[in-house]
Symmetry: C2
Subunit: 153 residues, 2 copies
């Protein structure tokens, strides 16, 4: 188990794009119960099964296991949600890595940047392309977007 | 992924007991949705995460992953059910292995024997201690017993 401590922001411009190659992600959910979300993810050619407990402040228990990508493809068929598709770019900035997710499909138009922290009070620098903070806003959970895509907001 | 094809029976007497040492199992469920059951299991000192799809006839898609037992213990806390506890004995008989589950705790008094088959029409010999077949009877699913223990039947 890891604790996942992360903060999440909207993105205001395209300056992050040249900094890293994007990887295609597709993910579905076997439950979207916020106390025990279960996610199937295919990231490039790798498969992952991830279980997340309840969010407390910025932190959430997370258990992630790599699984055969062929299993992940079959498990996607058991999903209770539409698939969420996006391109993820990992952008280094001032000693930290920002994960910038550019959604496609039903969530096209939404771009979110996340930073994972060692602790809730860790300081970090904001890149100039970072906008409003949306940490803890459940509408920006991928599990919420799977049920309520951005195009319907 | 594997397909899991199994048949399930009640047990009529104690003659199976001397044949193998039992292992303690404790398991909980993150969902009991029959189309995507998600089980956490601690078997002896090993942890497993298992996802099962919908039963069709005797067969059900099953994906099982070994996980650190410390993760399994923490994930048990995310369970939506009471824990199911039992001792499992693996009993060889006429070239096949029977798994005999003797439940304890809230399901004490229930003993179930299962045999896993290569295909739905595979022939096999019934040991003399085997009773009524309960294959496909959802009341004998461990996920059902987790919510509706045998002591309340």
């Amino acid at each position: 188990m890891a604790q996942e401590t992360e903060r999440k922001f909207l993105v205001t411009n395209d300056d992050w794009r040249i900094m890293a190659p994007p990887v295609h992600y597709i993910q579905g959910y076997l439950t979207t119960d916020p106390e025990r979300t279960i996610r199937i993810r295919i990231a490039g050619n790798r498969g992952y099964l991830t279980l997340k407990g309840k969010v407390e402040s910025f932190t959430r228990p997370e258990f992630e296991y790599e699984i055969p990508v062929s299993d992940a493809r079959e498990l996607m068929n058991l999903s209770v949600t539409q698939a969420v598709e996006k391109f993820r770019s990992k952008i280094p900035y001032e000693g930290k890595i920002w994960e910038v997710d550019e959604f496609i499909g039903a969530n096209e138009g939404l771009i979110i940047a996340e930073i994972e922290l060692e602790s809730e009070d860790e300081n970090f620098e904001l890149p100039p392309w970072i906008g409003e903070e949306v940490t803890g806003n459940t509408h920006y959970f991928n599990s919420y977007l799977a049920r309520n895509p951005f195009s319907k907001w």
